[in-house]
């Protein structure tokens, strides 16, 4: 394995991120502020505490997850799709590296970008609400795992996508709805019983619940189930990537 090559891809990708740093930085700060104004101040004032936590604070983990999941996916998918689109992928294919280095470089960079945005949102939220983090280490671990696993998913989407429309399709039609319906802005215990059961089929529920547990020490589903869910999701993504690597699907003729 060539660490030098991984680092090269990583740095190259991060430079793309820093070229648009204003946009990368302002966009999450602004949207977080808007969410706090709408949900925290306007609507939140009419909502009682949720599970003993003020509504404004309760939505912080969900907000972070919402951005982190979409950012990790779109960054990774765009990162590997762009060389395919402009043709520079020839270089990745003819370099003395395996798919492992390529995945590590692109996924690592996309995960870093998402992590950065997650941290920015967390810091921004300190200006609006009072939050205490019950399990900081678990919080960091959950955040990093989510960044990595969704960057892996994004990488798969980027390899699969044949055009820019397909690139947007899954984040827009799958991830955003699952995150919104996954309890970002509410506790699933607030739902009617039937919907509570249905919601349990949404994998994002486990991720948000686990992340929220690291903040407030309470969760919709057990922390064990959350850990298992994220491990399973990561494993599935890795298996798909392994298969792509073996077959050269959509990359090597």
């Amino acid at each position: 394995m060539s660490l030098n090559a991984i680092w090269t891809i990583y740095v190259f990708e991060m430079r793309r991120f820093f070229r648009t740093i204003t946009q990368s930085f302002i966009s999450p700060v602004l949207s977080t502020a808007l969410y706090f104004v709408v949900f925290g101040a306007a609507i939140g004032s009419r909502i009682d505490e949720v599970e003993g936590v003020s509504y404004g604070a309760f939505i912080v983990p969900g907000l972070i997850m919402l951005s982190v999941m979409t950012q990790a996916t779109t960054n990774a998918s765009f990162g590997i799709y762009f060389p395919k689109f402009i043709g520079t992928i020839y270089e990745l294919l003819s370099a003395p590296i395996s798919f492992l280095e390529v995945v590590a470089g692109y996924v690592g960079a996309a995960a870093t970008k998402a992590l950065f945005i997650g941290v920015v949102i967390l810091v921004t939220s300190f200006f609006f609400v009072e939050i205490q983090i019950a399990h900081p280490l678990a919080m960091i671990a959950f955040l990093i795992l989510t960044c990595v696993s969704f960057a892996l998913l994004g990488f798969i989407i980027g390899i699969w996508a044949g055009n820019f429309e397909q690139l947007q399709l899954i984040p827009l039609l799958v991830i955003t709805p699952l995150v919104f319906l996954g309890g970002s802005f509410y506790s699933i215990t607030m739902l009617p019983p039937v919907w509570q059961t249905i919601t349990l089929f949404n994998p994002v529920v486990y991720l948000i619940s686990g992340f929220r547990w690291s903040f407030f020490g309470q969760a919709d589903v057990g922390i064990g189930a959350s850990l298992f869910a994220i491990a399973l999701f990561t494993a599935i993504c890795l298996m798909v990537i392994w298969w792509i690597f073996r077959t050269g699907w959509r990359i090597r003729q």
């Binding site: 090269t8 043709g87 294919l93 003395p96 590296i97 395996s98 003729q253």
Partner: protein, 308 residues
């Protein structure tokens, strides 16, 4: 000299059943410039892509520097630099960064002094901090070459390096190639400009419909395959070719002052000696003699025609 690239029974069939390469065998000697000539769709790019690892062969083997490109792909690919036919470059990056990226991708430690030398050699140094998208087409092509050279390859593949490049830049490119050869790099270039192969190659390979028709020393090829033409200038014009010389199928110039004789250098006897004797017998006085050799282009067109 030993073969640095060895292609054996290489076959490539695409999913649709199209056979782009049919059992290709090719040895490329260390330090030479080999020009692969062929019409569009002959399999030139597929052959290069397969050697470089972009395309997976259906069967057959390729070794580079003795390393199998499938089993020991890291060692094999580390020796290869590839300049693709299309101008594929990250538009928003600077020239220096994109060249640095290529070097790093090949696992080489950062060496800006070396990269700056390459940029100077390619007249790109003053553009090193410019974004790629601000460069002209010819400059972009040089950036591709700089990228391919960034990791100090021993074998350089140039896929149609001068396609769509103006005459002046083409000549510059030839100089670059000559410099590279002098520094010991083995160069394989594909082209459909025959004058290019004629100007810079040591050996010429002709490929058509996925098959290598021949690979030969350029000079040998031209002398062996070339048809020659003997122009006999006469002291006094003739109205027609004398009947005694009918066997030679001479053609008479319009002004009657010269006769043309075509002969094959491959033939055991060229017939020149007897022709000259017979000319004298026919009472024609010669003023001058000239021979002219057919170009690589004529040879190439002849070869490709034979296989179609």
């Amino acid at each position: 000299m030993s073969a640095i690239v060895s292609v054996q029974n290489l076959r490539k069939a695409y999913a649709g059943g199209f056979e782009a390469l049919k059992s290709v065998n090719l040895d490329i000697e260390e330090g030479e410039i080999l020009a692969l000539l062929g019409p569009n769709g002959a399999g030139k790019t597929t052959l290069i892509s397969t050697i470089c690892g972009i395309t997976v062969p259906t069967s057959g083997t390729v070794t580079v520097g003795g390393h199998d490109t499938q089993k020991a792909f890291r060692a094999a690919r580390a020796l290869i630099g590839l300049v693709p036919q299309e101008i594929n470059l990250e538009p928003f990056e600077t020239v220096m960064n994109t060249v640095r990226f290529s070097r790093g991708l090949f696992g080489k430690p950062r060496n800006d002094a070396y990269l700056e030398d390459i940029l100077k050699q390619l007249s790109l140094y003053d553009k090193k901090d410019n974004k790629v998208m601000t460069l002209s087409g010819g400059m972009k092509r040089r950036v591709l070459i700089a990228k391919a050279l960034s990791h100090e390859p021993r074998v350089l593949f140039l896929d149609e390096p001068t396609a769509g490049v103006d005459v002046e830049l083409r000549k510059d490119m030839w100089e670059v190639v000559a410099d590279l050869k002098a520094s010991g790099v083995t160069i394989i270039l594909t082209t459909h400009y025959i004058e290019e192969a004629e100007a810079i190659a040591d050996r010429v390979g002709v490929i058509n419909k996925g098959e290598i028709l021949l690979v030969q020393d350029k000079a040998d090829l031209m002398s062996q395959m070339g048809r020659k033409q003997l122009k006999i200038e006469l002291a006094a014009p003739v109205d027609q070719v004398p009947a005694a010389l009918a066997d030679y199928h001479l053609t008479r110039a319009e002004d009657g002052l010269s006769l043309l004789y075509h002969y094959d250098t491959k033939g055991e006897r060229t017939g020149i000696t007897t022709l000259l004797a017979d000319l004298q017998k026919a009472g024609l006085q010669m003023k001058d003699l000239q021979t002219q050799q057919s170009s690589l282009e004529d040879i190439f067109v002849g070869l490709v025609k034979e296989t179609t």
